[in-house]
Symmetry: C2
Subunit: 455 residues, 2 copies
C-alpha cells in the first residue's frame, strides 16, 4: 500500500491522488443495487494520457487491480471498486479536442459529459445521438465502457455505432490506437468495437473519435392510450412492419403511468393499461404522426393525442422522462433491469413480467424502448424488509430467464458488470465464454483490469 | 493427402468433394492481381453446418489449412488457395432461412448472393443496403468476410453495420453462436463484429442474422461537371458540411470519364476534369438535389444536370457503374486500389494520385465513393510488359503511403488479404499487430484458418 502510493506519487501531481479514507469510499460504487463493492486503496484522477500510462505501469509492476470510472451512473456495478484497488476516475480528462463538420467527427477525452458534447456539436449544426437517461451527467468514456443506449436508439442506434477510433492505455501502460478518422475502414480485426462495452476490462480509453450526424429537425410526438399492453405492442409491431422510422417509440405500463401521475400530476388517465409515445424528426412529422396514429387506433388505442408543436411534444415526453423517478418514489428501493427481446415478442415479455410481479408479490413498473424491444422492468421494493428484498432479487432472475426464453438478451444497453455475470455465462454458453476469456487474457494477462466484472 | 480425402469422404457426400486436378485450380484465386495463389488439395462444397464441422474437425486432426471462399469476387486475395489446402466453398449453403418484417431481420446462409437477398427482402417492403459493385454475384458470407461496402455507404454504412449475429464453425469444429436477433444487445465482448472483416481467419460463418431497413423511395440523381478535381472535392465537402445526407455521392476523374466515353458512348464531355454524381432517396429528392446543385455551382461546377425521374437517374448512374469495365478496357490489366481518407483530405488524395500516375508513367483512373472519402484508384497497365508491371506495383505502394499520410486507411472496403499484409502492419503499428495476432491465436491456435492472410 505504501509502496503503491509512493510509486503513484512519483508520476502524478498531488492533486491527482485521493487517499483520505473519508473520501475514497464515495468512489466505491455506481448506481446499481444488489452489487458488492470493495474499498479502494486510492483514487486517481489523471488529466493526461501520460498520467494514465503511469498508473497502469505502476499497477502492472505491483499487480494491483485498477477499476476505471466515469460518472458512476452505470446500473450494473461495472464501476464498483474492489478491495485495495486503484480507482481510476477519468472525469478530469474532459476536453473536447476537435469538432469537424466536414468529416462529421468529434475527438474527445473520456471524461466529457454526454450533454456537454451534444450541446457543443449542436452549435455546428451536428448531433451526437446516443442519449442515455443520465446524459446530463454521464461521460462519453462511461458510455463507451457500457455501450450505452437511450431513447434515440430505435432510429439512431447505440453508442457502439458512433465510435470510429480509440486511443487506449493497455494494462501494461502501452498506448494503442485503434480504428480511424475516416467514414469507412476495414483494416484488420475491429478492435475499436471490441473495446466498446468491454467495461474497462481490456484497457483504459483515453481518447475517442466519434461519428456525428447532421442535426435533425425538432421531433414531434404523439401519445396513444391502450386498454391492454398486448394492444400497445401490436401497435408497435404494426408501426415497424409498415416501414416507419420513428425517432422515439416508448411504452409505459399501467404501474408506471400511475406512478408518474402520483409524482407529477400529469393528468394521465389512471385506467390506461399502456401508454405509447411515438415521435418523428422527419421533414413532415405531422404526416408521419397521422399515419402512426391511425395504426394505433387500428390496434385498439382508446385515445390518440398528437402534439401540435415541439413544445407540446416535450410535455408528452416529460411523462416518459419522469418514469424512473416516479417509480423510485413508490418504495424505498428500486432495481432496474434491462432485457431486450425481438420486438415481435415484446407483448409476451410485458405480460410475463406482470405475471412475475404477481408471483413474487411485488410492484414492477415497466418502461420500454418499445421500438427496440428493450424493456426496463423496475422492481420497487422495501429494502429494509429482508423477505421483500429476497423476492425482488428472485424476480430479477425470473425476468432475465424470461428474456432469454423469448430469444432476447440479458442486457440491451446497461451492460453486465457484477450484476449479471452469471447470466452472461448462460447467454454466451461455454464456447462463447471460453473465447471471451481468451480475449481478456490477450489484453490483460495479469488480470488487473476491472477484475470480477463480466465473467 | 490420401488420408485427408479418406477422412473428408467419411462425413461428406461424394458430390461435395472436387479432387479433379483439372477443376480444383479454378478455385485457386479471387479477382485480385499481384497475389500469389497455391494449388488446393481438394475443394469441398458443403450444404450443411454439420458438413462444415466435419471439414474443420478433419483439418484440425491433420493440421491442414482451410481457405474459405464465397463467389471469389474479392479484390485482395483473401480467398486465394495455399498449396495443399482444403478450399471450403460455401456457395451451396445458399438458403434464406427467414425474413421478418416486424423484427426487420433476415437469417441467411453464407452462400446467399447479395442481389438475391436484396430482391427477396424488397418483396417485403424492406432493403438490405450493402451493395458492393459485384452484388449480382458476390455472397453474403464473402461480404461478411471482407466487410464490404458499396455505393450506399455514405448514407447506409458498410456490411458490418447490418450483421447482428452469427453462427460460426470454429477451427476445431465446434459451433459458436454470437450476437442476437434483437435490435440492441451488449452482453459481453462484441464477437460478431470481430468476425466481420476477419477474412475467414477466425472461423467459418455458416449463418448470419442481418438487420434490414424499410425500403427507401427510389433515388433521384444529378450529375455535375467540374473543371478540376479540387472544385469537385470542395463541392463534396460543402454538401456534407451543410448537413445533407445523399444516398450516393460518387466522383469520377477525367481518366475514368474518358474511358467510359470510349466504351459506352455516354456523351460525357471529354474535357470534364471530374464528374460528381449525387442522389437522394428522401421524401422530396428534387428539393435536395436543387440545394446540392446550388452548392456544386458555388464550388465551380461548369454544368449541373438533375434527373427528372428515377429512370433518368439510372442513366446517369450507369456512367458510374461502367467505370470499372471501361478502365479495364484501357489496357491488358488493372489493379484496383481502395484507400479511404477523411473526406476533408479527398482533394489531396486525388491530386496526389494523379502525381503518382505521372511519376510512374501510368494511366490511373480514379472513381471514388466521394462522400466517404473512399477512393478506388484503378491502375491500368500492360501485364506483358515487365517494366510497366513493376511500375504498376510501385504506384500501388505509393498510393497506400499517400493514404496513410493523409490520415486515412489502407482499405475502406476491400480488405487486406495477401495484397496489403505489409501495409496492414504499417497501419496498425507493432502494439496493434501484436494484439491482433493474439486474437488470432485465441480462435485458431493451430493456425489452420486461411493462413498467410491479413498478417
Amino acid at each position: 500500500m505504501d509502496d503503491l502510493l509512493r510509486r503513484l506519487r512519483a508520476g502524478l501531481p498531488a492533486e491527482a491522488l485521493i487517499t483520505d479514507p473519508d473520501v475514497t469510499p464515495s468512489y466505491a460504487r455506481d448506481m446499481a443495487g444488489f452489487c458488492p463493492a470493495g474499498t479502494p486503496a486510492v483514487v486517481v484522477l489523471p488529466r493526461t494520457v501520460e498520467q494514465v500510462q503511469h498508473v497502469m505501469r505502476t499497477a502492472t509492476a505491483l499487480r494491483v487491480p485498477v477499476v476505471p470510472q466515469g460518472a458512476r451512473t452505470g446500473l450494473s456495478g461495472a464501476a464498483n471498486a474492489t478491495d485495495g484497488c486503484v480507482v481510476l476516475s477519468l472525469v478530469r480528462m474532459d476536453r473536447i479536442l476537435d469538432i469537424d463538420p466536414v468529416d462529421r467527427i468529434a475527438v474527445v477525452e473520456p471524461g466529457v459529459v454526454n450533454a456537454v458534447l451534444s450541446r457543443a456539436v449542436a452549435e455546428h449544426g451536428l448531433s451526437y445521438p446516443p442519449d442515455p437517461s443520465s446524459w446530463e451527467t454521464c461521460t462519453i468514456g462511461g458510455n463507451i465502457g457500457t455501450a450505452s443506449g437511450g431513447l434515440c436508439c430505435v432510429k439512431y442506434g447505440v453508442t457502439a455505432e458512433y465510435v470510429l477510433g480509440l486511443d487506449v492505455v493497455l494494462a501494461d501502460g502501452r498506448l494503442l490506437s485503434t480504428g480511424r478518422r475516416t467514414a469507412k475502414g476495414v483494416a484488420g480485426y475491429d478492435l475499436t468495437r471490441l473495446f466498446v462495452g468491454s467495461e474497462g476490462s481490456l484497457g483504459i480509453v483515453v481518447r475517442a473519435v466519434l461519428a456525428l450526424r447532421p442535426k435533425p429537425p425538432a421531433q414531434l410526438a404523439l401519445a396513444a392510450e391502450f386498454a391492454s399492453t398486448a394492444d400497445a405492442c401490436a401497435a408497435v409491431c404494426a408501426i415497424m412492419e409498415r416501414g416507419h422510422t420513428p425517432s422515439l417509440l416508448e411504452l409505459m405500463d399501467s404501474t408506471t403511468v400511475r406512478a408518474v401521475n402520483r409524482l407529477g400530476r400529469m393528468g394521465l388517465p389512471d385506467t390506461t393499461a399502456a401508454l405509447l409515445l411515438a415521435a418523428f424528426d422527419t421533414p413532415d412529422p405531422a404526416a408521419d404522426l397521422a399515419a402512426v396514429g391511425e395504426l394505433c387506433t387500428a390496434a385498439g388505442a382508446t385515445g390518440v393525442v398528437p402534439a401540435d408543436d415541439p413544445a407540446e411534444s416535450e410535455l408528452l415526453l416529460q411523462a416518459r422522462r419522469m418514469s424512473l423517478p416516479a417509480l423510485e418514489a413508490v418504495s424505498t428501493a428500486t432495481m432496474i433491469d434491462d432485457v431486450c427481446v425481438p420486438r415481435s415478442r415484446l407483448a409476451e415479455m410485458l405480460d410475463g413480467t406482470a405475471a412475475i410481479a404477481d408471483a413474487h408479490d411485488l410492484t414492477i413498473g415497466v418502461c420500454a424502448h418499445a421500438g427496440d424491444g428493450n424493456t426496463h422492468p423496475v422492481v420497487c421494493f422495501d429494502h429494509t424488509d429482508p423477505d421483500e428484498s429476497r423476492r425482488a432479487r428472485a424476480s430479477f432472475d425470473a425476468i432475465m430467464a424470461l428474456g432469454l426464453e423469448l430469444g432476447g438478451t440479458i442486457t440491451g444497453e446497461h451492460g453486465v458488470g457484477v450484476l449479471k455475470k452469471e447470466w452472461l455465462a448462460r447467454e454466451l454458453g461455454p464456447v462463447g465464454l471460453e473465447l471471451q476469456r481468451g480475449i481478456k487474457r490477450t489484453f490483460d494477462p495479469l488480470g488487473i483490469l476491472n477484475p470480477g466484472k463480466l465473467f
